[in-house]
Structure formats: structure tokens, C-alpha cells
């Protein structure tokens, strides 16, 4: 377990952008599947999801979130030193989406821009990477755009179809002497890399014509080689083992106790996983907000989506100490304790 403290980094603002299009897991499914869906919804806790219209991609949402953030903070675009994009939904296999967005957002050619390929654990990792760069002195302002377009409306996998929503978020960090420290705890377990995987499309398994056909898998569900496959039991075992340990370890490493944390914002995996983690930590539901019901699992965006949609008032009312914890694809996990005060936190953006 790797732990680290970042000094002199201020959380300046957060914007969250989702597609306006809302799909219901129960109403927008064939009548004959309704009963099965009701049971699924009861257990995963996801009633509706935001889904991009055909042709809209992650970077379109991210651009919107980024523009609103920069304008809201009143930052001169030439003052932004770093643009980090954390996504697994790039515009192209190459080049990196961050570089395309440097141009679209009108940032200077002096911008340090690159992508990080992480999913559910990505938000805290992004804070660590961007915060580390800024705390090294020399660079002052950074923006990170975090999220995914994970929905796949044509999938025949009922579980997958009901799980993922699309979202992009923009977060601003700034170097500020004596800002409250941020504490991190991070880990990786590549032995579980098959638990969440798209098999075809990289160099290990180049795309062949048969990868574009839906073929029945061992579980009877037909998928393309380019679709995501989830190994539910492995993800569940990993999450309920590693996440409570990561959170407890981080709290122990920090100068705080569990009681000193105002809110625990966890990656929104599904209700079963999130509730099990909450119960293992012995936390009251009011301290562990959920955005699953309305937005589903929004991958790396799920922590900021939850902050924007469930904690906006609280975060606007004086200093708050949050513990964020992301976990999933990789397998990878990262938790962070940070304080937020007087940040720019506008309401949800819908496009």
C-alpha cells in the first residue's frame, strides 16, 4: 500500500457535465424483461442513467465542463500550465485526447497535456498526479478532465446495459502555500486485469472481422470482441476486500480519525458493493452519499458526479473534509483525503 502527502495544493473548483438524455432501466426496456429488470434495479440501485446521443463522445462533454470551469474561475487561459485527461474513452487510439482538448479549449502551446488510462480509480489518481506536478514548484495551475462514455445502448448484456452512465468532469487545482495537505493511498493488482476487460482492439488481440460479430460467451450472453466483459464476482470480492482496507489505512496514515471526515465519496460501482463497503466501515448512510440511483456507474467521473449532485450545498457552506475512494478496472484503487473550502462548484451541466 503506497501512501503519500501533498502540500500546498488548493482544490479550486469542479464542474460536472452529463448528457440531457435520460434512460430508465425499467421503463425503457421491453415489457417481457420488466420483472427481471425490477430485481436488477433493486439490487444495483440504478434507476436512470444519462446516455450520450449517437455521435457525442466523452471529450465533447469534457470540453463543455472544462470551458465552464475556466470561465467560472475567471482564469486567464494562458495561466493554465497543465491539462490532464483521465479517461478510457479517448477520441482516437492515438494521439492523446488531452492534446486535442488543449487546442479546443484554447489553451497555450506551453500547456503540459497528456492522458491517464484509468477508469473507476482514476479521480484520486488524477488528483495525485496533477497535485504532485503542481507541488513540485514552477507550475501553478492545472485542470483535469475526468470521465468516460461507458454506455453501450446496443449491448445484449442486461447487467452491463443497466449499469453505466456517461459523464465528464473538470477539476481545477492551484499551487497555494499553506493549503491544507492532501493524503493519498494507492494500489494496483494486475493479476485481476481480466475482471474488467475489452478483449480486442489493442496489440495483444488485434481486431479481426469476427470481433465485430456478437458471439455467445461461456455465460450465454452474446458480445462483440470490442465490448466490455465484467466478471462480477471477482470485482465484488476485490472491492469489499481492498476498499475498506485502503480507506482504513489512509485514515490511519493521516492525522485524522474516521469521525473527522465529513463525507466519504466512493466510486459508484453498484448499490450492493457500495453498501457492503459502507457497512464494513461502520458509517452512517448520511455520510456516504450515492448518486447511483439517478446516474448509474459513471466510471472515473462517479466521485465528482456525486459531489456535484449530492453535496453541492454542503460543500458551499464552509470547510469540509472529504475522503474519496475509487476502485475497479485494472484492478486499481486510490483513496484521498482533502479539504474543500470556497471552491467554485456550480450546478450540474446538461447538454
Amino acid at each position: 500500500m503506497t501512501q503519500s502527502t501533498l502540500h500546498n495544493i488548493r482544490f479550486k473548483g469542479l464542474t460536472t457535465c452529463v448528457p440531457e438524455r435520460t434512460l430508465s432501466n425499467i421503463e425503457d426496456c421491453p415489457v417481457e424483461q420488466r420483472s427481471e429488470r425490477e430485481r436488477l434495479v433493486r439490487n444495483i440501485g440504478i434507476e436512470t442513467r444519462r446516455v450520450c446521443l449517437e455521435g457525442v463522445v466523452f471529450s465533447d462533454l469534457a470540453q463543455e465542463a472544462g470551458e465552464k470551469l475556466i470561465a467560472g474561475l475567471g482564469w486567464d487561459k494562458s495561466s493554465i500550465d497543465v491539462l490532464l485527461v483521465v479517461t478510457q474513452s479517448p477520441d482516437y487510439p492515438i494521439p492523446a485526447t488531452a492534446i486535442i482538448l488543449q487546442d479546443k479549449l484554447g489553451l497555450s502551446h506551453g500547456t503540459v497535456a497528456f492522458d491517464i488510462n484509468l477508469g473507476c480509480s482514476g479521480y484520486a489518481y488524477g488528483l495525485f498526479v496533477l497535485g504532485s506536478m503542481l507541488s513540485a514548484h514552477g507550475l501553478k495551475r492545472g485542470i483535469m478532465l475526468v470521465g468516460d462514455k461507458s454506455s453501450n445502448p446496443l449491448s445484449l448484456d442486461n447487467g452491463l446495459l443497466s449499469l453505466f452512465g456517461d459523464a465528464a468532469t473538470a477539476t481545477a487545482l492551484e499551487f497555494e502555500e499553506n493549503a491544507p495537505p492532501m493524503y493519498f493511498n494507492m494500489g494496483s493488482d494486475g493479476s485481476g486485469h481480466r475482471a474488467i476487460i475489452i478483449e480486442a482492439g489493442g496489440q495483444r488481440v488485434p481486431i479481426q472481422p469476427h470481433h465485430l460479430e456478437r458471439l455467445p460467451g461461456a455465460d450465454g450472453i452474446s458480445r462483440k470482441g470490442t465490448d466490455v466483459i465484467l466478471d462480477g464476482p471477482s470485482i465484488l470480492n476485490f472491492s469489499i476486500r481492498e476498499v475498506p482496507a485502503s480507506i482504513s489505512g489512509l485514515v490511519e496514515y493521516s492525522p485524522f480519525s474516521l469521525e473527522d471526515i465529513d463525507y466519504f465519496v466512493l466510486h459508484q460501482a453498484n448499490r450492493m458493493i457500495n453498501e457492503t463497503i459502507r457497512k464494513k466501515l461502520g458509517l452512517a448512510p448520511e455520510r456516504v452519499p450515492l448518486s447511483l440511483k439517478e446516474f448509474g456507474n459513471t466510471s472515473s467521473a462517479s466521485i465528482p458526479v456525486t459531489m456535484t449532485t449530492k453535496l453541492l450545498q454542503e460543500l458551499g457552506a464552509g470547510r469540509k473534509r472529504l475522503l474519496l475512494s475509487g476502485f475497479g478496472v485494472g484492478l486499481s484503487w486510490a483513496s484521498c483525503i482533502l479539504e474543500i473550502e470556497d471552491a467554485y462548484l456550480p450546478a450540474l451541466i446538461e447538454i
Partner: protein, 74 residues
């Protein structure tokens, strides 16, 4: 027998079937119409929280009847 009966009660709650069915120690998992990946997740959580035992997907795949799962946690 009270302990396996308690386990069966917890099992029924965990799998959350839409159409409740009679379950005994000898019921074959494959004979339960709604035994699926969601039910498996519910059982894994239940075993972890109630019996402090980690059950994997492979463990469950090796179970034929309900009593086989009970053996894993007892």
C-alpha cells in the same frame, strides 16, 4: 439443523428472487430458475458479511446444491 435453516433463510434473502421458490439443503442451484450472476453476487456478499468468509465465483461454480455453499462457510 437450525444452522443450515438459518443459512437458507439468509440465502433466500440474498438471492432476492422475483418468484420465491422452496429451497432446501438438497435443492440444486441449477434447478432454481432465477439462479444467475446477480444471485451469486448476493450470496457472496451474504457469506462475507454474515459468516466472514470470502467465497469466489469459482467456489460457487463448484457448488451443486445449497448444502455445498453452506459447507464453504461452516
Amino acid at each position: 439443523m437450525s444452522t443450515i435453516n438459518t443459512f437458507i433463510e439468509k440465502f433466500n434473502e440474498a438471492v432476492d428472487f422475483q418468484e420465491p421458490v422452496e429451497v432446501t439443503a438438497d435443492t440444486k442451484l441449477q434447478d432454481l430458475p432465477e439462479w444467475d450472476s446477480l444471485a451469486a453476487l448476493g450470496v457472496i456478499v451474504m457469506c462475507d458479511m454474515e459468516y466472514k468468509k470470502t467465497i469466489t465465483g469459482n467456489d460457487l461454480a463448484g457448488c451443486n446444491v445449497i448444502a455445498d455453499i453452506y459447507k464453504l462457510v461452516s
